[in-house]
Protein backbone atom coordinates (compact mmCIF):
# COMPACT_ATOMS: atom_id res chain seq x y z
CA UNK A 1 0.00 0.00 0.00
CA UNK A 2 1.32 3.43 -0.87
CA UNK A 3 0.40 6.71 0.76
CA UNK A 4 -1.91 8.75 -1.43
CA UNK A 5 -0.33 12.08 -2.40
CA UNK A 6 -2.36 15.22 -2.89
CA UNK A 7 -2.15 16.33 -6.56
CA UNK A 8 -1.22 19.87 -5.49
CA UNK A 9 1.71 18.51 -3.52
CA UNK A 10 3.01 16.75 -6.62
CA UNK A 11 2.69 19.98 -8.66
CA UNK A 12 4.41 21.96 -5.91
CA UNK A 13 7.28 19.45 -5.74
CA UNK A 14 7.65 19.48 -9.52
CA UNK A 15 7.84 23.29 -9.63
CA UNK A 16 10.49 23.41 -6.88
CA UNK A 17 12.47 20.70 -8.63
CA UNK A 18 12.27 22.60 -11.92
CA UNK A 19 13.43 25.83 -10.28
CA UNK A 20 16.40 23.98 -8.77
CA UNK A 21 17.42 22.20 -11.96
CA UNK A 22 16.43 24.66 -14.71
CA UNK A 23 19.43 27.03 -14.34
CA UNK A 24 21.75 24.10 -14.80
CA UNK A 25 20.04 23.19 -18.08
CA UNK A 26 20.13 26.79 -19.22
CA UNK A 27 23.90 26.87 -18.66
CA UNK A 28 24.26 23.59 -20.52
CA UNK A 29 22.30 25.08 -23.46
CA UNK A 30 24.24 28.34 -23.40
CA UNK A 31 27.55 26.47 -23.39
CA UNK A 32 26.93 24.88 -26.80
CA UNK A 33 25.34 27.91 -28.45
CA UNK A 34 27.07 28.79 -31.72
CA UNK A 35 27.01 32.53 -30.96
CA UNK A 36 29.68 34.87 -29.65
CA UNK A 37 27.52 35.98 -26.70
CA UNK A 38 25.70 34.16 -23.88
CA UNK A 39 22.18 33.20 -24.98
CA UNK A 40 19.40 30.74 -24.30
CA UNK A 41 17.85 28.83 -26.03
CA UNK A 42 21.08 27.93 -27.88
CA UNK A 43 21.37 28.93 -31.52
CA UNK A 44 23.16 26.17 -33.39
CA UNK A 45 25.54 23.67 -31.78
CA UNK A 46 29.25 23.90 -31.22
CA UNK A 47 31.89 22.52 -28.87
CA UNK A 48 34.30 25.34 -29.61
CA UNK A 49 33.65 27.14 -26.31
CA UNK A 50 34.91 24.04 -24.51
CA UNK A 51 38.12 23.96 -26.53
CA UNK A 52 38.35 27.73 -26.06
CA UNK A 53 38.71 27.21 -22.30
CA UNK A 54 41.93 25.35 -22.84
CA UNK A 55 43.24 27.97 -25.22
CA UNK A 56 42.98 30.63 -22.55
CA UNK A 57 45.99 30.23 -20.26
CA UNK A 58 44.35 32.16 -17.44
CA UNK A 59 41.66 29.50 -17.05
CA UNK A 60 44.26 26.75 -16.83
CA UNK A 61 46.49 28.49 -14.32
CA UNK A 62 43.62 29.70 -12.11
CA UNK A 63 42.03 26.22 -12.17
CA UNK A 64 45.30 24.77 -10.96
CA UNK A 65 45.58 27.46 -8.26
CA UNK A 66 41.98 26.83 -7.20
CA UNK A 67 42.59 23.09 -6.89
CA UNK A 68 45.87 23.59 -5.03
CA UNK A 69 44.29 26.05 -2.62
CA UNK A 70 41.16 23.94 -2.11
CA UNK A 71 43.01 20.66 -1.52
CA UNK A 72 45.79 22.12 0.65
CA UNK A 73 43.46 24.47 2.51
CA UNK A 74 41.01 21.65 3.23
CA UNK A 75 43.83 19.40 4.45
CA UNK A 76 45.17 22.15 6.71
CA UNK A 77 41.66 22.84 8.04
CA UNK A 78 41.19 19.14 8.81
CA UNK A 79 44.64 19.01 10.39
CA UNK A 80 43.59 21.80 12.76
CA UNK A 81 39.88 20.97 12.89
CA UNK A 82 39.98 17.27 13.74
CA UNK A 83 42.16 17.67 16.86
CA UNK A 84 40.13 20.75 17.86
CA UNK A 85 36.83 18.91 17.46
CA UNK A 86 38.28 15.92 19.31
CA UNK A 87 39.47 18.02 22.22
CA UNK A 88 36.17 19.88 22.47
CA UNK A 89 34.19 16.64 22.63
CA UNK A 90 36.61 14.68 24.78
CA UNK A 91 37.13 17.38 27.39
CA UNK A 92 33.76 19.10 27.08
CA UNK A 93 33.23 19.41 30.84
CA UNK A 94 36.56 21.07 31.40
CA UNK A 95 36.35 23.60 28.54
CA UNK A 96 34.31 26.82 28.45
CA UNK A 97 31.11 26.45 26.41
CA UNK A 98 31.81 29.46 24.16
CA UNK A 99 34.99 27.86 22.81
CA UNK A 100 33.24 25.82 20.12
CA UNK A 101 31.51 28.96 18.85
CA UNK A 102 34.88 30.57 18.14
CA UNK A 103 35.39 28.02 15.40
CA UNK A 104 32.16 29.04 13.65
CA UNK A 105 33.08 32.73 13.50
CA UNK A 106 34.45 32.60 9.94
CA UNK A 107 30.95 31.52 8.77
CA UNK A 108 29.08 34.03 10.91
CA UNK A 109 31.22 37.04 9.98
CA UNK A 110 30.30 38.32 6.47
CA UNK A 111 32.85 36.89 4.04
CA UNK A 112 33.58 40.38 2.73
CA UNK A 113 34.64 41.42 6.22
CA UNK A 114 36.74 38.30 6.61
CA UNK A 115 38.41 38.98 3.26
CA UNK A 116 39.11 42.60 4.11
CA UNK A 117 40.50 41.82 7.56
CA UNK A 118 42.77 39.18 6.05
CA UNK A 119 44.13 41.67 3.52
CA UNK A 120 44.75 44.11 6.32
CA UNK A 121 46.43 41.61 8.63
CA UNK A 122 48.19 39.17 6.31
CA UNK A 123 48.80 40.76 2.93
CA UNK A 124 49.65 44.19 4.30
CA UNK A 125 50.59 43.33 7.86
CA UNK A 126 52.80 40.27 7.29
CA UNK A 127 53.66 40.93 3.65
CA UNK A 128 53.26 37.26 2.77
CA UNK A 129 53.19 36.11 -0.88
CA UNK A 130 49.74 36.05 -2.55
CA UNK A 131 49.49 32.27 -2.69
CA UNK A 132 50.28 31.91 1.02
CA UNK A 133 47.71 34.58 1.86
CA UNK A 134 45.10 32.83 -0.28
CA UNK A 135 45.88 29.53 1.41
CA UNK A 136 45.59 30.97 4.92
CA UNK A 137 42.33 32.71 3.97
CA UNK A 138 40.77 29.55 2.56
CA UNK A 139 41.94 27.44 5.49
CA UNK A 140 40.18 29.85 7.83
CA UNK A 141 37.13 29.94 5.60
CA UNK A 142 36.63 26.14 5.61
CA UNK A 143 37.80 25.50 9.19
CA UNK A 144 34.23 25.79 10.57
CA UNK A 145 33.11 22.92 8.34
CA UNK A 146 35.96 20.73 9.50
CA UNK A 147 35.29 21.44 13.18
CA UNK A 148 31.50 21.24 13.01
CA UNK A 149 31.06 18.19 10.79
CA UNK A 150 33.83 16.16 12.46
CA UNK A 151 32.48 17.39 15.81
CA UNK A 152 29.02 16.04 14.96
CA UNK A 153 30.58 12.63 14.30
CA UNK A 154 32.50 12.76 17.56
CA UNK A 155 29.42 13.79 19.52
CA UNK A 156 27.95 10.35 18.89
CA UNK A 157 31.29 8.59 19.46
CA UNK A 158 31.45 6.60 22.67
CA UNK A 159 34.75 7.54 24.30
CA UNK A 160 34.74 4.44 26.48
CA UNK A 161 35.77 2.64 23.25
CA UNK A 162 38.93 4.71 23.35
CA UNK A 163 39.47 3.80 27.00
CA UNK A 164 38.95 0.14 26.13
CA UNK A 165 41.74 0.36 23.54
CA UNK A 166 44.07 2.12 25.99
CA UNK A 167 43.37 -0.46 28.69
CA UNK A 168 44.30 -3.17 26.18
CA UNK A 169 47.75 -1.63 25.81
CA UNK A 170 47.27 0.79 22.92
CA UNK A 171 49.07 4.14 23.48
CA UNK A 172 46.74 7.19 23.32
CA UNK A 173 48.01 8.61 20.00
CA UNK A 174 47.89 5.23 18.29
CA UNK A 175 44.41 4.74 19.74
CA UNK A 176 43.31 7.91 17.99
CA UNK A 177 44.43 6.57 14.62
CA UNK A 178 43.40 2.92 15.03
CA UNK A 179 40.14 3.30 16.94
CA UNK A 180 38.80 6.87 16.90
CA UNK A 181 39.56 7.87 13.30
CA UNK A 182 38.06 4.76 11.63
CA UNK A 183 34.82 5.38 13.51
CA UNK A 184 34.49 9.02 12.49
CA UNK A 185 35.66 8.40 8.91
CA UNK A 186 32.32 9.31 7.34
CA UNK A 187 32.35 12.64 9.18
CA UNK A 188 35.89 13.37 8.01
CA UNK A 189 34.94 12.64 4.38
CA UNK A 190 31.80 14.77 4.68
CA UNK A 191 33.87 17.60 6.17
CA UNK A 192 36.40 17.26 3.38
CA UNK A 193 33.75 17.49 0.66
CA UNK A 194 31.92 20.43 2.23
CA UNK A 195 35.17 22.27 2.83
CA UNK A 196 36.52 21.50 -0.62
CA UNK A 197 33.34 22.70 -2.36
CA UNK A 198 33.20 25.84 -0.22
CA UNK A 199 36.80 26.64 -1.07
CA UNK A 200 36.51 25.96 -4.80
CA UNK A 201 33.35 28.12 -5.04
CA UNK A 202 34.52 31.01 -2.93
CA UNK A 203 34.42 34.48 -4.47
CA UNK A 204 34.10 37.09 -1.72
CA UNK A 205 37.17 36.18 0.32
CA UNK A 206 39.28 35.33 -2.72
CA UNK A 207 38.40 38.67 -4.32
CA UNK A 208 40.45 40.35 -1.61
CA UNK A 209 43.24 37.82 -1.39
CA UNK A 210 44.08 37.24 -5.05
CA UNK A 211 46.75 39.49 -6.41
CA UNK A 212 49.12 40.06 -9.27
CA UNK A 213 49.67 36.78 -11.16
CA UNK A 214 47.75 34.61 -8.70
CA UNK A 215 43.99 34.16 -9.00
CA UNK A 216 41.35 31.48 -8.52
CA UNK A 217 38.96 30.08 -11.10
CA UNK A 218 35.79 31.84 -9.86
CA UNK A 219 37.63 35.18 -9.87
CA UNK A 220 38.90 34.46 -13.39
CA UNK A 221 35.32 33.60 -14.50
CA UNK A 222 34.12 36.99 -13.26
CA UNK A 223 37.05 38.77 -14.87
CA UNK A 224 36.43 36.97 -18.16
CA UNK A 225 32.70 37.73 -18.07
CA UNK A 226 33.36 41.43 -17.49
CA UNK A 227 35.54 41.50 -20.60
CA UNK A 228 33.96 39.07 -23.06
CA UNK A 229 30.50 37.79 -21.99
CA UNK A 230 30.87 34.80 -24.34
CA UNK A 231 29.68 31.18 -23.84
CA UNK A 232 33.12 30.20 -22.49
CA UNK A 233 31.77 31.08 -19.04
CA UNK A 234 28.91 28.64 -19.50
CA UNK A 235 31.22 25.87 -20.69
CA UNK A 236 33.55 26.38 -17.71
CA UNK A 237 30.49 26.12 -15.47
CA UNK A 238 29.46 22.89 -17.17
CA UNK A 239 32.91 21.42 -16.55
CA UNK A 240 32.69 22.45 -12.89
CA UNK A 241 29.27 20.78 -12.66
CA UNK A 242 30.63 17.57 -14.19
CA UNK A 243 33.52 17.66 -11.67
CA UNK A 244 31.07 18.03 -8.77
CA UNK A 245 28.77 15.29 -10.05
CA UNK A 246 31.84 13.10 -10.52
CA UNK A 247 33.00 13.64 -6.94
CA UNK A 248 29.50 12.93 -5.65
CA UNK A 249 29.23 9.77 -7.75
CA UNK A 250 32.49 8.44 -6.32
CA UNK A 251 31.36 9.26 -2.78
CA UNK A 252 27.95 7.69 -3.36
CA UNK A 253 29.56 4.53 -4.73
CA UNK A 254 32.02 4.19 -1.84
CA UNK A 255 30.41 5.67 1.28
CA UNK A 256 26.86 6.60 0.34
CA UNK A 257 25.60 10.17 0.38
CA UNK A 258 23.29 9.76 3.34
CA UNK A 259 25.80 11.24 5.77
CA UNK A 260 25.52 14.61 3.98
CA UNK A 261 21.83 14.82 4.72
CA UNK A 262 21.97 13.43 8.25
Amino acid sequence: MTTKLHPLLIVFAAVIFAILVAPLFIILGAAVSDTSFLTFPPQGFTMRWFTNIFDITAFRTTAITSLQVAVTGTFLALLIGIPAAYAMNRFRIRLPSWLSNVFVLPILVPEIVLGFSLVKSITIGLELPVFATLLIGHTLLVLPYAVRVVGASLASFDFSIEEAAISLGCPPLKTFFTVVLPNIGAGVVAAFILAFITSINDVSTSLFLTGPGVSTLPIQIIAHMEQFFDPTIASVSVLLMILTVGVMAIVEATLGLTFLTK
Binding site: I166, L168, V179
Partner: protein
Amino acid sequence: MTVSLTLDNVSAHYGSTQVLKDLSLSVKAGELVSLLGSSGCGKTTTLRLVAGFLEPSAGSIRLGDRDLTRLPAHQRDIGLVFQNYALFPHLSVRDNVAFGLKQRGVGKAERDAKANAMLERVGLSAFAERMPAALSGGQKQRVALARALVIEPPLLMFDEPLSNLDAKLRVDMRVEIRRLQRANGTTSLYVTHDQEEAFSISDRVAIMNAGRIMQLDTPEVLYQRPANSFVARFVGFENLIEMTVTERNGEMVTATTKAGASLTLSQTVYGAIPDRFILAARPDGLAVRQSGEGIPVTLGIRTYLGRAYQYQCTTSTGDLTGNGPLSELLEPGAQAVLVPVPEQCCILPPEA
Protein backbone atom coordinates in the same frame (compact mmCIF):
# COMPACT_ATOMS: atom_id res chain seq x y z
CA MET B 1 50.52 -15.42 38.27
CA THR B 2 48.07 -13.91 40.72
CA VAL B 3 48.84 -10.68 42.49
CA SER B 4 47.13 -8.43 44.98
CA LEU B 5 45.84 -4.90 44.42
CA THR B 6 46.51 -2.32 47.11
CA LEU B 7 45.17 1.21 47.36
CA ASP B 8 46.85 3.18 50.10
CA ASN B 9 45.25 6.41 51.39
CA VAL B 10 44.07 7.40 47.93
CA SER B 11 42.33 10.76 47.50
CA ALA B 12 40.79 12.14 44.33
CA HIS B 13 39.39 15.51 43.36
CA TYR B 14 37.20 16.78 40.55
CA GLY B 15 38.16 20.43 40.50
CA SER B 16 37.83 21.52 44.11
CA THR B 17 35.42 18.70 45.05
CA GLN B 18 36.99 15.82 46.90
CA VAL B 19 35.38 12.60 45.68
CA LEU B 20 37.61 10.08 47.45
CA LYS B 21 38.85 10.57 50.99
CA ASP B 22 41.95 8.64 52.06
CA LEU B 23 40.62 5.42 50.65
CA SER B 24 42.54 2.27 51.47
CA LEU B 25 41.61 -1.05 49.95
CA SER B 26 43.32 -4.37 49.51
CA VAL B 27 42.18 -7.03 47.07
CA LYS B 28 43.97 -10.29 47.74
CA ALA B 29 45.44 -12.41 44.96
CA GLY B 30 42.68 -14.26 43.11
CA GLU B 31 39.94 -12.54 45.05
CA LEU B 32 36.88 -10.77 43.61
CA VAL B 33 36.01 -7.63 45.53
CA SER B 34 32.99 -5.50 44.69
CA LEU B 35 32.61 -1.80 45.28
CA LEU B 36 28.95 -1.28 46.10
CA GLY B 37 27.14 2.00 46.55
CA SER B 38 24.72 4.47 45.05
CA SER B 39 25.78 6.84 42.29
CA GLY B 40 28.27 9.47 43.40
CA CYS B 41 29.71 7.32 46.20
CA GLY B 42 33.12 7.15 44.48
CA LYS B 43 33.07 3.55 43.29
CA THR B 44 33.56 4.37 39.60
CA THR B 45 36.16 7.01 40.48
CA THR B 46 38.09 4.31 42.35
CA LEU B 47 37.98 2.03 39.31
CA ARG B 48 39.08 4.81 36.97
CA LEU B 49 41.99 5.64 39.28
CA VAL B 50 43.17 2.05 39.17
CA ALA B 51 42.69 1.95 35.37
CA GLY B 52 44.76 5.12 35.03
CA PHE B 53 42.06 7.33 33.50
CA LEU B 54 42.23 9.60 36.54
CA GLU B 55 45.15 10.64 38.68
CA PRO B 56 44.91 10.51 42.46
CA SER B 57 45.66 13.74 44.31
CA ALA B 58 47.29 11.72 47.07
CA GLY B 59 48.08 8.13 47.97
CA SER B 60 49.43 5.17 46.02
CA ILE B 61 48.09 2.27 43.97
CA ARG B 62 50.07 -0.96 43.72
CA LEU B 63 49.45 -4.15 41.77
CA GLY B 64 51.67 -6.91 43.12
CA ASP B 65 55.11 -5.32 43.28
CA ARG B 66 54.35 -2.77 40.54
CA ASP B 67 53.58 0.82 41.51
CA LEU B 68 50.72 1.94 39.26
CA THR B 69 50.22 5.39 40.76
CA ARG B 70 51.89 7.39 37.95
CA LEU B 71 52.01 4.69 35.26
CA PRO B 72 50.26 5.61 31.95
CA ALA B 73 46.97 3.74 31.51
CA HIS B 74 48.14 1.73 28.48
CA GLN B 75 51.07 0.26 30.42
CA ARG B 76 48.98 -0.99 33.35
CA ASP B 77 48.00 -4.34 31.88
CA ILE B 78 44.46 -4.41 33.27
CA GLY B 79 41.45 -6.13 31.69
CA LEU B 80 38.45 -3.79 31.68
CA VAL B 81 34.79 -4.63 31.08
CA PHE B 82 32.50 -1.63 30.57
CA GLN B 83 28.81 -1.09 31.17
CA ASN B 84 28.17 -0.22 27.53
CA TYR B 85 30.46 -3.02 26.25
CA ALA B 86 32.74 -0.52 24.40
CA LEU B 87 33.46 -2.95 21.57
CA PHE B 88 35.28 -1.55 18.53
CA PRO B 89 32.45 -1.02 16.03
CA HIS B 90 34.73 -1.22 13.00
CA LEU B 91 36.31 -4.57 13.91
CA SER B 92 34.90 -8.09 13.71
CA VAL B 93 34.26 -10.03 16.91
CA ARG B 94 37.53 -11.94 16.44
CA ASP B 95 39.54 -8.76 15.80
CA ASN B 96 37.95 -7.16 18.86
CA VAL B 97 39.15 -10.04 21.00
CA ALA B 98 42.58 -10.11 19.32
CA PHE B 99 43.10 -6.32 19.72
CA GLY B 100 44.99 -6.53 23.01
CA LEU B 101 47.24 -9.32 21.69
CA LYS B 102 48.03 -7.23 18.62
CA GLN B 103 49.17 -4.39 20.88
CA ARG B 104 51.46 -6.87 22.59
CA GLY B 105 53.08 -7.79 19.29
CA VAL B 106 51.59 -11.28 19.06
CA GLY B 107 51.67 -12.58 15.45
CA LYS B 108 48.50 -12.83 13.38
CA ALA B 109 48.22 -16.63 13.39
CA GLU B 110 48.80 -16.92 17.13
CA ARG B 111 46.46 -14.14 18.12
CA ASP B 112 43.67 -15.47 15.92
CA ALA B 113 44.12 -18.90 17.48
CA LYS B 114 44.02 -17.41 20.99
CA ALA B 115 41.01 -15.25 20.14
CA ASN B 116 39.18 -18.27 18.73
CA ALA B 117 39.95 -20.31 21.82
CA MET B 118 38.68 -17.50 24.07
CA LEU B 119 35.52 -17.10 21.97
CA GLU B 120 34.96 -20.81 22.37
CA ARG B 121 35.17 -20.43 26.15
CA VAL B 122 32.46 -17.76 26.15
CA GLY B 123 30.36 -19.76 23.70
CA LEU B 124 30.64 -17.43 20.73
CA SER B 125 32.77 -19.42 18.26
CA ALA B 126 30.07 -19.15 15.64
CA PHE B 127 30.09 -15.35 15.80
CA ALA B 128 33.80 -14.67 15.18
CA GLU B 129 33.25 -13.09 11.75
CA ARG B 130 30.32 -10.89 12.82
CA MET B 131 30.48 -7.19 13.46
CA PRO B 132 29.53 -6.02 16.98
CA ALA B 133 26.41 -4.25 15.70
CA ALA B 134 24.99 -7.66 14.73
CA LEU B 135 25.16 -9.01 18.31
CA SER B 136 22.68 -8.92 21.18
CA GLY B 137 23.56 -7.17 24.46
CA GLY B 138 24.48 -10.41 26.19
CA GLN B 139 26.66 -11.51 23.30
CA LYS B 140 28.38 -8.13 23.21
CA GLN B 141 29.23 -8.38 26.89
CA ARG B 142 30.62 -11.89 26.33
CA VAL B 143 32.87 -10.53 23.60
CA ALA B 144 33.96 -7.71 25.93
CA LEU B 145 34.73 -10.32 28.59
CA ALA B 146 36.70 -12.45 26.12
CA ARG B 147 38.59 -9.34 24.96
CA ALA B 148 39.58 -8.51 28.54
CA LEU B 149 40.50 -12.09 29.47
CA VAL B 150 42.55 -13.02 26.41
CA ILE B 151 45.42 -10.71 27.40
CA GLU B 152 45.64 -12.71 30.66
CA PRO B 153 45.76 -9.57 32.78
CA PRO B 154 46.87 -9.77 36.43
CA LEU B 155 43.81 -7.65 37.28
CA LEU B 156 40.30 -7.63 35.86
CA MET B 157 37.95 -4.73 36.47
CA PHE B 158 34.23 -4.54 35.79
CA ASP B 159 32.30 -1.27 35.64
CA GLU B 160 28.59 -2.08 36.08
CA PRO B 161 28.94 -4.78 33.41
CA LEU B 162 25.38 -6.11 33.68
CA SER B 163 23.39 -2.89 34.02
CA ASN B 164 22.31 -2.82 30.38
CA LEU B 165 21.08 -6.42 30.32
CA ASP B 166 17.66 -7.75 31.22
CA ALA B 167 17.05 -9.51 34.53
CA LYS B 168 17.31 -13.11 33.33
CA LEU B 169 20.49 -12.47 31.36
CA ARG B 170 22.02 -10.62 34.31
CA VAL B 171 21.84 -13.73 36.45
CA ASP B 172 23.30 -15.94 33.68
CA MET B 173 26.09 -13.48 32.98
CA ARG B 174 27.13 -13.05 36.59
CA VAL B 175 27.46 -16.80 36.95
CA GLU B 176 29.52 -16.78 33.74
CA ILE B 177 31.75 -13.96 35.00
CA ARG B 178 32.26 -15.77 38.30
CA ARG B 179 33.06 -19.05 36.52
CA LEU B 180 35.68 -17.47 34.23
CA GLN B 181 37.17 -15.39 37.04
CA ARG B 182 37.47 -18.48 39.26
CA ALA B 183 38.91 -20.64 36.49
CA ASN B 184 41.67 -18.10 35.79
CA GLY B 185 42.11 -17.08 39.43
CA THR B 186 42.32 -13.46 38.29
CA THR B 187 42.27 -10.78 40.97
CA SER B 188 39.16 -8.72 40.24
CA LEU B 189 37.54 -5.43 41.16
CA TYR B 190 33.84 -5.20 40.39
CA VAL B 191 31.79 -2.00 40.53
CA THR B 192 28.03 -2.14 40.88
CA HIS B 193 25.07 -0.40 42.51
CA ASP B 194 23.12 -3.67 42.67
CA GLN B 195 23.32 -5.29 46.09
CA GLU B 196 22.13 -8.72 44.98
CA GLU B 197 24.67 -8.76 42.16
CA ALA B 198 27.53 -7.70 44.44
CA PHE B 199 26.63 -10.19 47.18
CA SER B 200 26.15 -13.12 44.82
CA ILE B 201 29.36 -12.70 42.84
CA SER B 202 31.93 -11.45 45.34
CA ASP B 203 34.35 -12.90 47.84
CA ARG B 204 34.19 -9.59 49.67
CA VAL B 205 32.16 -6.42 49.21
CA ALA B 206 33.13 -2.85 50.05
CA ILE B 207 30.07 -0.74 50.76
CA MET B 208 30.89 2.86 49.85
CA ASN B 209 29.37 6.21 50.75
CA ALA B 210 30.55 9.76 50.04
CA GLY B 211 34.05 8.72 48.94
CA ARG B 212 34.72 6.33 51.81
CA ILE B 213 34.48 2.60 52.37
CA MET B 214 31.91 2.10 55.15
CA GLN B 215 32.61 -1.62 55.57
CA LEU B 216 34.61 -4.22 53.66
CA ASP B 217 33.63 -7.78 54.47
CA THR B 218 32.24 -11.01 53.14
CA PRO B 219 28.62 -10.81 51.95
CA GLU B 220 27.57 -13.02 54.89
CA VAL B 221 29.07 -10.72 57.51
CA LEU B 222 27.71 -7.60 55.81
CA TYR B 223 24.26 -9.10 55.63
CA GLN B 224 24.13 -10.38 59.20
CA ARG B 225 26.55 -8.16 61.14
CA PRO B 226 26.73 -4.68 59.63
CA ALA B 227 29.33 -2.56 61.42
CA ASN B 228 27.51 0.77 61.34
CA SER B 229 24.09 2.24 60.77
CA PHE B 230 24.81 3.23 57.13
CA VAL B 231 25.65 -0.34 56.16
CA ALA B 232 22.77 -1.63 58.30
CA ARG B 233 20.27 0.55 56.40
CA PHE B 234 21.89 -0.44 53.12
CA VAL B 235 21.38 -4.16 53.73
CA GLY B 236 17.78 -3.77 54.89
CA PHE B 237 17.87 -3.12 58.62
CA GLU B 238 14.94 -0.72 58.42
CA ASN B 239 14.59 -0.32 62.18
CA LEU B 240 17.37 1.55 63.92
CA ILE B 241 16.50 2.17 67.57
CA GLU B 242 18.74 4.39 69.73
CA MET B 243 19.16 2.93 73.23
CA THR B 244 20.96 3.74 76.48
CA VAL B 245 22.06 1.14 79.06
CA THR B 246 20.45 1.71 82.48
CA GLU B 247 21.49 -1.44 84.31
CA ARG B 248 24.11 -4.19 83.94
CA ASN B 249 23.57 -7.50 85.67
CA GLY B 250 26.26 -10.02 84.66
CA GLU B 251 25.57 -11.02 81.07
CA MET B 252 22.19 -9.33 81.08
CA VAL B 253 21.89 -5.65 80.14
CA THR B 254 18.82 -3.47 80.56
CA ALA B 255 18.51 -0.56 78.14
CA THR B 256 15.80 1.99 77.37
CA THR B 257 14.69 3.73 74.21
CA LYS B 258 14.30 7.51 74.05
CA ALA B 259 10.59 7.01 74.67
CA GLY B 260 11.38 5.10 77.85
CA ALA B 261 10.60 1.55 76.73
CA SER B 262 12.85 -0.93 78.48
CA LEU B 263 14.45 -4.05 76.95
CA THR B 264 16.62 -6.73 78.51
CA LEU B 265 19.37 -7.98 76.19
CA SER B 266 21.90 -10.79 76.66
CA GLN B 267 25.56 -10.14 75.92
CA THR B 268 26.02 -13.85 75.20
CA VAL B 269 23.76 -13.30 72.18
CA TYR B 270 24.76 -9.79 71.07
CA GLY B 271 28.37 -9.59 72.27
CA ALA B 272 29.62 -6.71 74.39
CA ILE B 273 27.02 -3.93 74.55
CA PRO B 274 28.32 -0.36 74.96
CA ASP B 275 26.53 2.20 77.15
CA ARG B 276 24.99 3.90 74.18
CA PHE B 277 24.11 1.89 71.07
CA ILE B 278 21.70 1.36 68.21
CA LEU B 279 19.57 -1.76 68.05
CA ALA B 280 19.19 -2.63 64.38
CA ALA B 281 16.54 -5.00 63.06
CA ARG B 282 14.91 -5.96 59.81
CA PRO B 283 11.10 -6.24 59.96
CA ASP B 284 11.40 -9.98 60.70
CA GLY B 285 13.74 -9.12 63.58
CA LEU B 286 10.97 -7.33 65.46
CA ALA B 287 8.16 -9.69 66.44
CA VAL B 288 4.72 -8.13 66.95
CA ARG B 289 3.12 -9.36 70.20
CA GLN B 290 -0.09 -8.32 71.91
CA SER B 291 1.66 -7.93 75.27
CA GLY B 292 4.89 -8.61 77.17
CA GLU B 293 8.29 -6.91 77.48
CA GLY B 294 9.02 -4.89 74.36
CA ILE B 295 8.65 -1.56 72.66
CA PRO B 296 5.03 -0.36 72.91
CA VAL B 297 3.60 0.70 69.55
CA THR B 298 0.36 1.54 67.82
CA LEU B 299 -0.26 -0.72 64.81
CA GLY B 300 -0.81 0.84 61.40
CA ILE B 301 -1.16 -0.62 57.91
CA ARG B 302 -0.97 -4.41 57.76
CA THR B 303 0.39 -6.19 54.67
CA TYR B 304 0.40 -9.90 53.90
CA LEU B 305 3.82 -11.35 53.06
CA GLY B 306 2.88 -15.03 52.67
CA ARG B 307 5.04 -16.22 55.57
CA ALA B 308 3.93 -13.46 57.96
CA TYR B 309 1.94 -10.26 58.34
CA GLN B 310 3.91 -7.05 58.30
CA TYR B 311 2.78 -4.05 60.36
CA GLN B 312 3.74 -0.42 60.01
CA CYS B 313 3.95 0.70 63.62
CA THR B 314 4.13 4.17 65.14
CA THR B 315 5.81 5.16 68.40
CA SER B 316 6.32 8.55 69.97
CA THR B 317 9.90 8.61 68.64
CA GLY B 318 9.35 7.38 65.09
CA ASP B 319 8.00 4.63 62.87
CA LEU B 320 9.06 0.98 63.09
CA THR B 321 8.21 -2.07 60.99
CA GLY B 322 7.63 -5.50 62.51
CA ASN B 323 6.30 -8.89 61.47
CA GLY B 324 3.56 -10.87 63.22
CA PRO B 325 2.60 -14.54 62.91
CA LEU B 326 -0.12 -15.70 60.51
CA SER B 327 -1.97 -17.27 63.42
CA GLU B 328 -2.65 -13.91 65.00
CA LEU B 329 -4.48 -11.23 62.97
CA LEU B 330 -4.18 -7.80 64.60
CA GLU B 331 -6.17 -4.77 63.46
CA PRO B 332 -4.82 -1.29 62.64
CA GLY B 333 -5.07 1.05 65.62
CA ALA B 334 -4.51 -1.68 68.20
CA GLN B 335 -1.80 -1.38 70.90
CA ALA B 336 1.00 -3.97 70.72
CA VAL B 337 4.67 -4.47 71.59
CA LEU B 338 7.67 -5.18 69.37
CA VAL B 339 10.03 -7.81 70.76
CA PRO B 340 13.57 -8.10 69.27
CA VAL B 341 14.34 -11.58 67.89
CA PRO B 342 17.92 -12.13 69.18
CA GLU B 343 19.46 -13.88 66.15
CA GLN B 344 17.94 -11.32 63.77
CA CYS B 345 19.10 -8.13 65.47
CA CYS B 346 22.46 -6.53 65.93
CA ILE B 347 24.07 -3.90 68.10
CA LEU B 348 25.68 -0.90 66.38
CA PRO B 349 27.72 1.99 67.72
CA PRO B 350 25.69 5.21 68.08
CA GLU B 351 25.70 7.58 65.10
CA ALA B 352 28.22 10.38 65.45
